[in-house]
Subunit: 179 residues, 2 copies
């Protein structure tokens, strides 16, 4: 049996727009320990595959990394959204313009188990119909399409860096048996 930490006390440090921060004192194998925890409402990410086998990706400046990152479409679950599937449909439409006939649930992802509560729900989207995008005011992104196998090789070889993107491309290939 692995030791399970229990909360002794909790201190709220910050309440923000996309995250909160708290510091918990917990039981530890030897006495007690402190855990700094990012609270986050969760997110979705989508592997959109067009009818001719292209993977639809987005390029976006990600301020914390200081770089333009190539990733699959994704977004936060808004307050009040209770079904991640609907969030996935909304984000796919907003960021790429596509609506999907089929959304296949690939699984959920914990991006950083040491300090964040965030969970990312992963979907593969097929049967795509193009349409208009609608970005948020503080969002700017370019849409790029890659042959799925080329994107897969980029993920496998370390040319992509976004964790959800690498995991989701791999899971989509295996679960949808994409050749």
């Amino acid at each position: 049996m692995v030791f399970e930490e229990k909360k002794i006390s909790s201190e709220r440090i910050y309440e923000g727009a996309i995250l909160n921060l708290r510091k918990d004192t917990v039981t530890a194998p030897k006495g007690k320990a402190y855990r700094e925890i990012v609270e986050h409402n969760g997110a979705v990410a989508i592997v959109p595959i067009t009818n001719d086998g292209k993977l639809v990706m987005v390029k976006q400046f990600r301020y914390p990394t200081g770089k333009v990152i190539l990733e699959i479409p994704a977004g936060k679950i808004d307050q009040g959204e209770t079904d991640p599937l609907l969030t996935a449909k909304r984000e796919l439409k907003e960021e790429t313009g596509y609506t999907a006939q089929n959304l296949h649930y690939l699984g959920k992802l914990n991006p950083s188990v040491a300090y964040t509560e965030e969970v990312i729900h992963l979907y593969a989207a097929t049967g795509l119909t193009p349409g208009e995008t609608s970005f948020d005011d503080d969002e700017a992104l370019d849409i790029v399409e890659y042959d799925f196998q080329e994107a897969y090789q980029m993920a496998a070889s370390g040319k992509l860096v976004d964790a959800k993107t690498i995991a989701a491309i791999f899971m989509a290939k295996e679960q949808l048996d994409i050749k």
Copy 2:
């Protein structure tokens, strides 16, 4: 060209043990925006493969998730550690007891590009020799070994949830051409 946000001002919110938090005001396509950023010293994660083809994993209660998580050995880059390769050797030894003849760099991972600066360096470790573990005082974990292909299937099918683990198993299989 994707719009690149520039810092206008920065507010320090918290300085902690494993992370700091700051809030930056940045330029946005329409005026300005706020970014909440977790500062983190970075981490390493290792895919250790024994001479008989087993993947060495660890089971650990991860407080932010409220669950016991099955993941590959990993750990923070300590202050003063400048070479992630040495951190990888140290963490592999501490958490599993193994020393590795070969450490192959798989690539780097951004676990959550929207709000954390954390970068995780991924390695595959082969040519393993067993030895003694030495856990940190606030660390408690079980070591479990899986046939590599079984772990790969668990990652592919959504049975694993830790992002670095899923990405690294996939990248190791492709880059080391594990059959």
